[in-house]
C-alpha cells in the first residue's frame, strides 16, 4: 500500500502538467472560438493530392 506515497505525488504532477497546459492554451485563446476548429480539421489536405505540402495553420 505504501506505493501511494509515490503514486499520488506522481498523479499530482500529471495533474499539474495538465493544468499548466490548460492555462497556457486558455491564455493563448484556444477556447475563444469553439465552432471553427472542428470544420478546419475536416479540411486538411489529402496527402498526394495537394500541390503544397505545407500544413494548414
Amino acid at each position: 500500500m505504501s506505493v501511494v506515497f509515490i503514486v499520488v505525488p506522481l498523479a499530482a504532477l500529471i495533474v499539474l502538467a495538465a493544468v499548466i497546459a490548460f492555462v497556457v492554451s486558455a491564455r493563448r485563446g484556444q477556447f475563444d472560438d469553439l465552432d471553427t476548429p472542428p470544420v478546419r480539421m475536416l479540411n486538411d489536405d489529402r496527402p498526394g493530392r495537394s500541390g503544397s505540402s505545407t500544413p494548414n495553420p
Binding site: 500500500m1 501511494v4 506515497f5 499520488v8 498523479a11 499530482a12 495533474v15 495538465a18 493544468v19 490548460f22 492555462v23 486558455a26 491564455r27 485563446g29 477556447f31 475563444d32 472560438d33 465552432d35 471553427t36 472542428p38 470544420v39 478546419r40 475536416l42 479540411n43 489529402r46 493530392r49 495537394s50 500541390g51 503544397s52 505545407t54 494548414n56 495553420p57
Partner: protein
C-alpha cells in the same frame, strides 16, 4: 502598379479560363495549381471529387459539362486602396509581438466549413502573409502579415478574388478586453476545477477510511495532500474573493465577497491547524469545491448579463444592417459595421442612414425625429450633416461617411442610456443595501454560532460557523433584482423600447393614470385625406397638379391617390397659402383653399363641406367646383386596441394635447374615452399642471414627444417618449419607444409587470433559501460541504429564473 498587383490581376484574368473539375465553377485565382491535372474551387469539391473517384463514379464529371451557367461569388475587382491608408492602419491594425501587422477582417460570403479551408490558404497564395484564421460563426478573419513584404490591400484583393469581400471589423478594443477577461476567468475556473476534483479524490479516500479504517500514516498523508492541493486554489483562483473583500474593507462597504473570503480564510486556517496537529476535520474538499462553484457561477452570470445589455446589439437594432457604398459607377451592399469614414453611400428615399455623414450630392428631406424630436422632415442639401438612424424621406442622396458605428451620434446616445441604466436604478440600489445588511447580520450570527458551540464542541463550532458563512451566500439576493432588470431592459431594447432605468420598470408595474399626447402619439402626425366628395375622374387631374408640390397637402393627395395614373401638368402656378392653378390634359384645374378656389371658379354641382375638424380643400375643373376634400391627422391603426388593452389592465387613460379641444374630443370619442379625460388646447404649462394634479393620486405616466411635452414628461412619475426623437426624449423621459404606434406601450406595461413579478419571486426565493439554510447550518444539520453545494445552486436558480422569464418578447417583432 506594383509587381504584386500585376500578379493578382493576371491570375484574376486567368481565373476565367480554369474551371473546377467537380462543379465547373471558375477556380479562384489563388487556388489554381499549375501542375495539377484536376483543379478545385474549394475543399468541398475536392472531397466530393475524391469520394466519387474512390467509388469509381467518375462519369459524374462527364455529365456535368454544359450545365447551366454557374452562379458564384464574383470578385468585385476593387483596388482596396483605403486598406493601405494611414488612418485605416491607425484604426484597425495592431502590431503583434513578432513584428507582424494584424487586422480583423469581416468577410462577406462566409457560408460553411469549406470557407475555412479557402481563407486559410491565403498565406500559401500571398507571400508575406503569416497567418489567416477564420472564425466561421462570426465571419471574422484574423490576418497577420509582414508589412515590408506585402501590402494589406494586396491581401484584401486576394480575399476578394477568392470570393470573400473583406471589411475591417471595428470594436476590437472592447472585444480584446472581453477576451482577456474571459480567458483569465476560464483559466481560473480550470485550475479551481482540477484542484477541486483532485481534493475530492483525496477526501473520498479519507471518508472511506473513516468507515473501513485507515492506518495513521496514510490518513496523515492524504490530509497533507489535500492541504497542499487546496492552498494554491485559495491563493490562485480564490484570490479574486480576497481582492473583493479587501476592496470592500478599504471602502468600508460590505460586499458579498467578504463572508466568502472570511469563510475561506477561517476554514483554511483551521484546516491547516488540524492537519498539523493531526486532529479534527479538514475543510479542504469543501473549500476547493466552493471556489470552483462560485467562479463557474460568476462566469455564467457574467455571460448572461453581457448578452443582455450588449450596446452593439442596441445600436444595430436601430440603424440598418447594410448600406450601399458607391464604388466608381456601381454601388455595392456592405454591412453597416464595415463602413469607414470617407466612403460614399447612396441612400435612397425611405432608407435609414447607416452612418453619420455629409451630403455629397442630392437634395432631400430627412426625418430626424429619432434624434431631435422634430416631427417634420428637415430639408438637406449638399454639405449638410445627416446622422445614422435618421431616415431619408424624399429622394436619393449621396453621403460621405464622417463617423460610423461606435463613433456615430446614435452610438454615443446609446452609451448615455447605458450609463444612466448603471447610474440610477433605486431598485438595484435597494437590493445592494439589503445585501450589505445581510452580510452584517450573517457575520454576527456566525460569530454567535461559534461562541455558542465552542464550549460544547469546538469542532462543531467551527463547522457550523463555516457552513453558515458558506450557505448564506448573499449572491442570490444581490443577483435577484439587477439580473431581472438588466435582462428585461436588454430584451425591451430589442423590441424597440429603450428603458433608462429599473426605477421606470418598477413604477410602470402597477396601473395608474396614463396621459397621451395626441399629435404623433395617438395620431400619425401627418396630413392625410380623411374625406373626399367628388367624381373619380377628377382624381388624376388633382394628382397631376400636386405631383410637383412639396406642400403637406400635396403629399397627402399623393399618398391617398397612390396607384392612379396622372397626366402631365403644364403652366402651373403655386400660390403660397392658397393653392395650385394649372392645365392638365387640356383642362384648367384649380386646387386649393376654399377662398383661393372660390375666387377662380363658380359653384358647380353640389359639393359637401368637410367636417369641422378637418382642413378643407376644393377642386375646380374648367371654372366649376367639382370636388371637396378634407384633410386631417389620422388616428393610428393600433391606437384603439392598445387603449382598450391598457384600460382592461386598470390604467386610467386620458388625452392631454395642445391641439384644438374639438379635435381632441373627436379623437377621444374614436378611442372610447370619457370626455372629461380628454384635455385639449393645453399649453405646455397647462400640461405640466394637469400632470402634477394627476400625480397626487398615484402613478402618472405621460406619453408624448420629446419637445412639446418635455416638462410634463419630466414631472410625471414615468415619462414615455414616442416619436419624439430619442435624443431629446431620453434627456427627460425614462422610456423611449423607437417603434411607432401605441402597441409598444402595451408591451412596456406588461413587461414591467412581469419584471417586477420576477424580481419579487427572486427575492422571496433567496430570502427563503437563506433563512432555511442558515437555520440548518446554525443547528449543525448541514456540513460545510453540503453548504458549498447548496450555495451556488441557489445563485444558479436565480440566474436561470431571471434568464428564462418571459418579461419582454424575446423575438424581434419586425
Amino acid at each position: 502598379m506594383t509587381a504584386a498587383d500585376a500578379t493578382v490581376r493576371a491570375s484574376l484574368q486567368h481565373a476565367t479560363a480554369v474551371v473546377c473539375t467537380h462543379c465547373q465553377l471558375p477556380v479562384p485565382a489563388g487556388l489554381i495549381e499549375p501542375d495539377a491535372q484536376d483543379q478545385f474551387c474549394c475543399g468541398g469539391c475536392r472531397t466530393a471529387f475524391a469520394v466519387l473517384h474512390d467509388h469509381g463514379l467518375d462519369t459524374y464529371h462527364d455529365t456535368t459539362v454544359g450545365r447551366d451557367g454557374p452562379v458564384a461569388a464574383e470578385p468585385r475587382g476593387r483596388s482596396f486602396e483605403e486598406f493601405d491608408h494611414v488612418t485605416f492602419h491607425e484604426l484597425y491594425v495592431r502590431r503583434t509581438p513578432e513584428g507582424l501587422s494584424q487586422v480583423d477582417l469581416y468577410l462577406e460570403g462566409v457560408r460553411c466549413g469549406a470557407c475555412v479551408w479557402l481563407v486559410e490558404r491565403v498565406p500559401l497564395v500571398v507571400p508575406g502573409v503569416a497567418r489567416a484564421e477564420l472564425n466561421v460563426r462570426r465571419s471574422l478573419a484574423r490576418v497577420a502579415w509582414d508589412d515590408t513584404a506585402v501590402s494589406l490591400s494586396h491581401v484584401a484583393r486576394t480575399l476578394d478574388s477568392l470570393g470573400y469581400h473583406p471589411h475591417p471589423f471595428r470594436g476590437f478594443e472592447v472585444e480584446a478586453m472581453r477576451r482577456r477577461e474571459d480567458r483569465a476567468m476560464l483559466a481560473r475556473i480550470g485550475v479551481a476545477g482540477a484542484i477541486a476534483a483532485n481534493v475530492m479524490l483525496a477526501a473520498l479516500a479519507l471518508y472511506s477510511g473513516q468507515f473501513g479504517g485507515m492506518d495513521g500514516p496514510y490518513e496523515r498523508f492524504f490530509r497533507w495532500v489535500s492541504l497542499l492541493l487546496t492552498t494554491p486554489a485559495l491563493f490562485g483562483p480564490g484570490r479574486v474573493f480576497f481582492a473583493g473583500a479587501w476592496a470592500s474593507f478599504k471602502t468600508r462597504t460590505l460586499h458579498m465577497d467578504l463572508p466568502i473570503a472570511i469563510a475561506l480564510a477561517v476554514g483554511w486556517a483551521q484546516g491547516v491547524a488540524n492537519t498539523i496537529t493531526n486532529s479534527g476535520p479538514i475543510y479542504f474538499d469543501g473549500l476547493a469545491t466552493l471556489i470552483f462553484a462560485l467562479l463557474a457561477g460568476r462566469f455564467l452570470q457574467q455571460r448572461g448579463q453581457r448578452a443582455a445589455t450588449d450596446s452593439a446589439e442596441l445600436l444595430y437594432s436601430l440603424s440598418p444592417l447594410t448600406a450601399r457604398v458607391v464604388d466608381g459607377d456601381a454601388t455595392r451592399e456592405v454591412p453597416a459595421q464595415a463602413l469607414l469614414p470617407g466612403m460614399t453611400l447612396e441612400v435612397r428615399a425611405g432608407e435609414t442612414f447607416a452612418a453619420d455623414g455629409t451630403v455629397a450630392s442630392g437634395r432631400s428631406k430627412v426625418d430626424v425625429a429619432l434624434l431631435t424630436g422634430e416631427s417634420r422632415p428637415v430639408s438637406v442639401d449638399a454639405g449638410d450633416r445627416v446622422y445614422a438612424g435618421t431616415m431619408n424621406v424624399s429622394s436619393a442622396l449621396r453621403v460621405r461617411v464622417d463617423a460610423a458605428g461606435e463613433q456615430s451620434r446614435l452610438a454615443s446616445l446609446l452609451h448615455q442610456v447605458e450609463d444612466s441604466v448603471r447610474r440610477r436604478a433605486p431598485v438595484v440600489q435597494l437590493a445592494n443595501r439589503l445585501a450589505v445588511w445581510f452580510v452584517a447580520v450573517v457575520l454576527l450570527v456566525a460569530a454567535g454560532t461559534a461562541l455558542f458551540w465552542y464550549p460544547r464542541n469546538p469542532t462543531a463550532a467551527i463547522d457550523n460557523a463555516i457552513a453558515l458563512l458558506v450557505v448564506t451566500c448573499p449572491c442570490a439576493l444581490a443577483l435577484a433584482t439587477p439580473l431581472a432588470v438588466s435582462v428585461a431592459i436588454g430584451r425591451a431594447a430589442r423590441n424597440g423600447i429603450l428603458i433608462k432605468g429599473g426605477d421606470a420598470l418598477e413604477r410602470l408595474a402597477a396601473p395608474g393614470t396614463l396621459l397621451l399626447d395626441k399629435t404623433g402619439t395617438i395620431t400619425e402626425s401627418r396630413v392625410a385625406l380623411a374625406a373626399w366628395d367628388g367624381p373619380e375622374w377628377v382624381k388624376p387631374l388633382v394628382l397631376a397638379l400636386e405631383q410637383e408640390s412639396s406642400h403637406p397637402i400635396a403629399a397627402g393627395f399623393r399618398r391617398a391617390f397612390d396607384g392612379i395614373a396622372a397626366g402631365e401638368a403644364r403652366l402651373t402656378t403655386h400660390v403660397a397659402g392658397g393653392g395650385i392653378d394649372g392645365m392638365v390634359d387640356g383642362r384648367h384645374v384649380v386646387v386649393g383653399s376654399p377662398a383661393f378656389v372660390e375666387a377662380r371658379a363658380a359653384r358647380g354641382p353640389d359639393v359637401s363641406t368637410p367636417a369641422r375638424h378637418l382642413t378643407p380643400v376644393l377642386v375646380a375643373v374648367d371654372g366649376a367646383i367639382m370636388a371637396s376634400a378634407g384633410f386631417g391627422d389620422p388616428v393610428r391603426a393600433d391606437a384603439g386596441r392598445a387603449v382598450d388593452s391598457l384600460r382592461r389592465r386598470g390604467w386610467k387613460v386620458g388625452i392631454l394635447s395642445g391641439d384644438h379641444s374639438e379635435v381632441v374630443a373627436s379623437v377621444g370619442e374614436t378611442l372610447g374615452l370619457s370626455r372629461d379625460g380628454c384635455v385639449g388646447g393645453a399649453a405646455p404649462e397647462e400640461k405640466l399642471r394637469v400632470v402634477q394634479e394627476a400625480g397626487r393620486n398615484g402613478t402618472v405616466v405621460m406619453v408624448g414627444d420629446g419637445v412639446n411635452d418635455a416638462a410634463a414628461m419630466a414631472a410625471a412619475s414615468v415619462g414615455v417618449g414616442v416619436h419624439g426623437g430619442a435624443e431629446a426624449c431620453l434627456a427627460t423621459a425614462d422610456v423611449y419607444l423607437a417603434r411607432p404606434g401605441l402597441g409598444p406601450l402595451v408591451t412596456l406595461t406588461e413587461g414591467a409587470t412581469r419584471t417586477m413579478r420576477v424580481i419579487r419571486r427572486n427575492i422571496a426565493f433567496s430570502i427563503g433559501y437563506n433563512v432555511i439554510g442558515a437555520a440548518l447550518a446554525v443547528t449543525g444539520v448541514i456540513t460545510p460541504l453540503i453548504a458549498a453545494v447548496l450555495m451556488p445552486a441557489s445563485s444558479l436558480t436565480v440566474v436561470l429564473a431571471s434568464w428564462l422569464s418571459r418579461t419582454f418578447p424575446t423575438e424581434r417583432a419586425s
